[in-house]
Symmetry: C2
Subunit: 874 residues, 2 copies
């Protein structure tokens, strides 16, 4: 039979999954002989059973709680509800992963109208007793009974005013009795019953409330943002109360063993005398810095310093601790590995190795991969940020901070930029490939529609440009050249706003930014990760510039070079359009011929930037209509340029219109319908490769055919590629090794990967499309649906951002196995957005892929995630 | 080592896969002791090796052909190229499946300038010798050397004119020598070489040409239409020539043992005296009926009658035979099971059982399931059809024949119909759910866009209405109310046209039609199929009428009842629109409340029609925007009706617009966002079920949740269904058994079917969407792509019409296994368009599904296909 309740002295740090972080560490500290108030932990398994049993605590668990409570009473020599020796406890949540402030706490449980009198007599401190009681009533009513806290705040405020008290500490015992009286009235008014007087019942209700709090909105959102599974559950810690509010020789505080902002090695903390629990962080009085404790109580201070050091040495990591001083006696209430900024995380990791407190492998596990992002992008000046109020919130689509003047059309943004305006922000309902130049000059991008993998988001991350996407709180009038924020304020072209792409916030005006600086710690740390990881990390890059940035961040090749972005520049799109309106193969060839030298030039630049590393080039992928204008005036203009009838052009555009473009004529389908396209692209690739090799560059091209669903498609296009390459190499009198492979982004390709592998020398999993097709969910249309799914707890995370290992992952794993079975030396990688997501990188490591490819700014994240995956697997 | 060449006496009918149909039957007839000219067969495996070896005949196969040729020479006592005893042969293709006229034949091979002289001397018939030579030169040049036949036809015509000859038979030996001279000149002009004189070389070239002909356009299209795999290859039959053109005691003919149009048991055939090969069918002279042979040569006639009967008894099926009479001696050149009309097929099958020639099981295999279609729909009067020329060709989307006046808007069609016009055709670029009423009154539907599974095609098949879809050869101007056919002629509203939905043809004017009559043979035959099949056959039906039709055709329940079609009628769509524009749950409930009694009424009708049989009802599936108008004037009108601002409605419609609606907000996603929808639908279903049961109807409802990709979606909606059903049953004081299950139409649902099965009591595979998502190909946008894929031989068939067993099938099989593993008593069926496709039905049988569901008019096809699958498997 499972055991659902553990005394602190029965547990230990290794039982974190069962006891939660707080419970496990309380047990560990108990075992270390530190001064920890006694108690027990109700396990996370009890919580999952609570949900399984229809939100009820089963009788066997109830019996176990009662039994352990009795044991606690015996151990301490106090009793629940006994006015002469009353046992009072705190009830606190504690999940496997730290979720600070996300769940609820109840202090002073066990008090009732009789016990409070006994406590007053016992402590000879009536004020303390009633202060504790009023706190308990308020917390219990709020957390357990869901009576809004504001009712109690108002009542307290009233008593303070009536008695001229400035701080809570100014209230007398009599005042506090009055507060208790009013609190009980509030309770009665809301619940039509008296405040519960039986401590055992109070306890069970409190445990249930903590279990419930696991599923409150705050917690659910926190879990989604931090990849914490919803079925872990929380443990509940029931612990004898100690009191920081027993007078001026009592107090409570929090401390870190190192500075959580900078990582500097020094004790860092705050405390308040004559205070309890949340008073320190609630800002009611200004807390004192930890060093001041030295003056107030040097012995306790020295004891605390010793314990802190002991804990850091024990856990081999920076500790975040809570303590209480009761009448001059120190108690430890919590310790855990402390949250820290990215800078601090790196410094601490590197310092711990220098101090021989940790090995390199251990240090690697101490840094959260996602944190690295913050190091690579500019950020707002923290104080200015703290003071500012967002005027709207959207999705944190591409991290960093940007400030500038808003423009609503790409061409206006470009014009402003060309006129010398360096601070340009592009604000649009959604972006399309036509906007690429405007996005390129913009400091930041704001859209009102689309999700984390919308066009704006993907392109912005690729460029390392800050982006807030899907910001439904603003209404954009592109024609009117203004937007309205959530407060109804209007922002016109040229107005300044600021975007926080890491948080998804939009601010009015111009917030000051600070540039990112990569410290030496960064280099040291990343070098360690490279030593342990097995998975290679490549980048998705379409330009020599991006390729260079990625290489600086440690990319080991290009996993996805999209060739279509190269076609959207003004001189090229003209040739592309000419190609599309061509009626004969000959006309198409002539138009493509104009593109050839430009593409060759692009590839030469990219090959040079990636000297010695593989470069995977994807053939033209997007549907042709993306290259044509939609607006009437643009169509008229283009028809004139191309020398064709306006009606003919309009008909062509109508013909190219598709009901579901994502499932339409693109990828290899284009190449099959217009074989001249892969032909000219292959020529550009091969000529570029031979040219740069003659300049001494070591070039390893991999030609990738997109959107293959059937091996015969790949075979057809591969034949074109091979024939063209042979021809070009013969013309140039050269030889060249290159690979031909495919993207696996259509479910059918994954299902028949054994057949596809007969023609493919590599697979690159295009997890963006694969996820959308496997889910039957278009990322462009998913916004409202995902919102509802999060609300109703159907999904815990967005599968377009984090790889769904259950379904899509099964497809990838199956394809990898089938592919390797048919061609043992096949190269396997992923190049979707998931390539930069740590949990997805871990999955790729586990199923044995060769590499992941991600946008340049995510390369360090992927390197770290790959290293952590390798360490965890061993 | 494989053997690639078989003498006729080495083979037999059972070796059809290796020797092809013709070769196997020639061998069988040889074995039966019938008069068959001697020869050998180059196997289908030699053909597949030819393609594998890069369109070359490998040396080992060449050696085997030469060796067998030498053996043939020895057996016959004649030699290739020997003017004194020349061996002349025919070279004919012969695949596993009969592909009449699709591939090529060469007669009289072995002739050259010397041999023709020898032949003349030997036969003492110079005219015959040169007639044979000119035929050979023409066939060899055309088939092997690809010199257009028209060159030779012109030359022949010229000689005839110059000599005043009306028929070929009027030409003298001298005339024919002149023809040969001119033919050889044509050859030289085209090939810059003399006509080949070495018979061995002629033979090898001819064999290659037959192999090549396997992949000509005609053959490829024939295979696609008849589900014949492209990798089967064709065999080549090399056979000693016999001559029907040796004078008036010679001739050639074709015959059937039963009438291929009616199935009547009587010898039926035609012949021509003094003729060779294709002369009979080429229509140069009018052939004589077989009975006339009795007068010309009663002995040969009697011998032929005996052989025909012997062959029918031997093959136990109606035979289609070719014969030649050489100087009064009968030779059999071919026998095979004859092609026949649907009526004949049924009559022959039933007669064969009556005549004890076949068991019921054998008879079942003799009817092609697809043929049954023709029996259920009206058709054009055959002679009128033969005389008519199509003005355009599209896809044969829904079979039958229709004639009527064209209308370009659904409302115009409805208005005309209401004014008493019974012959209405709806012509539109594509149809949408808004057109449903117009489609309902139309005799036939013609669209210029969309494929076999476009909206028009699916709905038309469901209604049993004739439809030609995706007819890109016409240009429709809906606003101008006219269309232009492929010849440039204009057809305005009210003009008559005729549609052949079985062939995809469009005709000008009014072609006479004949109604379908179901014979007693149909009932007898279908009853046999029901005895042997394991797979149940249900129908997709949304109305009591369709349900009744399907039941008449043998449906055993409804596998898919789409509830959305019920919403498009005028009074309902208003309530639906009110629901969509509602801002609060309360408003939505009020609007849905209006729909409740109508839906309940619908379900009552359907339950009554399906008394005693299961009815699977799918909850609302389509995206909401389908219920709203798109045109400005309609928006204005609707805004007025709904009493809301026009701009607000326009914005709402814009908001509902999706980039990829197929991957957007529909199916269970709607139910999750608006839980009132499944609630009201469940209420309608349960109330209807209880009501009709009280009237004595046996009702078995199955509620189906569409578009599930994750078990948590199903669980959420199932909870709503269960809670509502419990509530309604409590209100009514009733109990009711019903199932809750899901459509498996999203790849992820199939991949995680074990999890989904925890909540689903049945799976219904929605193969339409599953195919589209697995392929990443929207059926609405697939037209151009599939066309190119067929042209380039990448695909052999349209996967939206015939189930792709390799990829999509793997997904279905996997899901069926996972589902059964998790819930052994789960019901499994398919309800996509493939449910009525014979090869897909066979697959469903093989993987052990419980039922298929298809449109009413396909029910008999599915019943037969299921029976054949069961017989084949045993």
């Amino acid at each position: 039979m499972a055991k659902y309740v553990y005394m602190f002295y029965e547990g230990g740090a290794k039982m974190k999954e069962l006891l939660g972080g707080k419970g496990a560490n309380l047990a560990e500290m108990t075992g270390l002989g530190l001064p920890v108030p006694r108690g027990f932990t109700v396990t996370t398994e009890a919580c999952t059973r609570y949900y399984k049993d229809g939100k009820q605590i089963a009788d066997d668990i109830l019996a176990e709680i009662r039994e352990r409570l009795a044991l606690l009473e015996t151990n301490i020599g106090k009793k629940f509800g006994d006015p002469t020796e009353p046992l009072l406890v705190s009830v606190r949540s504690g999940a496997r992963a730290s979720m600070p402030g996300m769940m609820d706490t109840i202090l002073n449980l066990g008090l009732n109208d009789k016990v409070v009198e006994g406590l007053a007599a016992l402590t000879r401190n009536e004020r303390f007793a009633y202060d504790s009681y009023r706190r308990f009533i308020q917390m219990f009513s709020d957390v357990v009974m869901e009576i809004p806290k504001s009712n109690f705040d108002k009542a307290l405020e009233a008593v303070k005013q009536e008695n001229g008290a400035k701080f809570d500490t100014d209230l007398t015992a009599a005042n506090l009795k009055e507060v208790v009286r009013r609190y009980k009235e509030i309770y009665r008014a809301h619940k039509a019953a008296d405040f519960p007087q039986v401590p055992q019942e109070q306890l069970i209700e409190a445990v249930k409330a903590v279990f419930r709090s696991w599923d409150n909105d705050r917690a659910v959102i926190y879990r989604r943002l931090n990849d914490i599974p919803g079925d872990w559950g929380t443990a509940v810690n029931v612990q004898e109360m100690v009191y920081g509010n027993m007078g001026d020789d009592s107090g409570t505080g929090v401390a870190f063993t190192r500075d959580p902002s900078t990582g500097e090695r020094k004790l860092y903390g705050e405390f308040l005398m004559n205070a309890q629990g949340e008073d320190v962080v609630a800002g009611i009085r200004t807390p004192q810095s930890l060093e001041q404790l030295k003056d107030i109580n040097p012995e306790v201070y020295a004891q605390f310093v010793e314990i802190a050091q002991k804990l850091e040495n024990h856990y081999k990591d920076m500790q975040d601790m809570e303590f209480t001083i009761e009448k001059g006696k120190l108690f430890m209430l919590q310790t855990r590995n402390g949250k820290r900024t990215a800078t601090a995380a790196l410094k601490i990791a590197v310092d711990l190795v220098r101090e021989k407190m940790a090995t390199e492998r251990e240090a690697i596990l101490k840094v959260e991969p996602k944190q690295l992002d913050a190091l690579l992008h500019p950020n707002f000046e923290p104080k200015a940020l703290a003071a500012a109020k967002p005027i709207a919130k959207g999705l944190p689509a591409s991290p960093g901070a940007a400030t500038g003047k808003v423009f609503f059309e790409a061409k206006d943004a470009v014009a402003a930029y060309n006129n010398g305006e360096k601070f340009v922000l592009l604000v649009r309902a959604e972006t399309s490939p036509e906007d690429i130049e405007g996005m390129n000059v913009a400091q930041g991008i704001l859209t009102s529609r689309g999700g984390m993998t919308s066009h704006a988001a993907v392109v912005a991350r690729g460029m390392g440009t800050c982006c807030v996407a899907g910001c439904g709180e603003i209404q954009i009038d592109e024609e009117g050249r203004y937007f309205i924020d959530k407060n109804g304020a209007r922002h016109v072209e040229g107005d300044w706003i600021s975007l926080d792409g890491s948080a998804g916030n939009v601010y009015d005006g111009r917030l000051p930014t600070v540039e990112a600086v990569l410290s030496g710690d960064f280099e040291t740390f990343m070098a360690w990760t490279d030593k342990v990881r097995r998975l290679k990390v490549r980048t998705n890059a379409d330009t020599p510039h991006d390729a260079g940035v990625a290489r600086k961040f440690g990319a080991e090749g290009i996993g996805l070079c999209r060739t279509e972005h190269m076609f959207f520049e003004e001189d090229r799109i003209a040739a592309m359009r000419e190609m599309i309106v061509s009626k004969t193969e000959e006309q198409r060839r002539r138009a493509l011929g104009k593109i050839l030298p430009m593409q060759r030039n692009d590839f030469e630049g990219i090959f040079e930037a990636m000297d010695g590393m593989p470069v995977t080039i994807r053939l033209l992928d997007p549907p042709l209509h993306e290259f044509l204008p939609q607006a009437d005036e643009d169509i008229t203009k283009l028809a004139k340029e191309l020398g064709i009838e306006r009606e003919a052009l309009r008909n062509l555009i109508r013909d190219l219109h598709e009901i579901n473009p994502m499932l339409g004529n693109r990828g290899c389908r284009l190449a099959i319908i217009f074989p001249e396209i892969p032909e000219i692209q292959t020529r550009a690739i091969i000529e570029a490769a031979v040219n740069v090799r003659r300049r001494g560059v070591n070039v390893l091209p991999e030609i990738m055919v997109p959107l293959v669903g059937d091996v015969r498609e790949l075979k057809y296009v591969k034949n074109i590629i091979k024939a063209t390459a042979d021809k070009v190499l013969a013309e140039l009198g050269a030889e060249l090794d290159y690979l031909v492979g495919t993207m696996i982004e259509i479910p059918r390709a994954a299902l028949t990967a054994d057949l596809v592998a007969e023609e493919a020398e590599f697979f690159s999993f295009g997890t963006n499309d694969l996820t959308q097709m496997a889910y039957g969910l278009s990322r462009d249309d998913a916004g409202k649906i995902l919102e509802a799914y999060f609300d109703k707890k159907i999904y815990e995370y967005d599968p377009t951002a984090r790889l769904d290992t259950t379904g899509v992952g099964k497809l990838i794993e199956m394809a990898a196995k089938l592919g390797r079975g048919a061609r043992p030396d096949i190269h396997l990688g992923i190049c979707g957005e998931h390539g930069g997501d740590p949990s997805s990188v871990e999955f790729c490591h586990e199923i044995g892929l060769d590499y992941v490819s991600c946008s340049p700014f995510r390369v360090p994240i992927a390197r770290l995630a790959a290293a952590q995956a390798a360490i965890k697997q061993n």
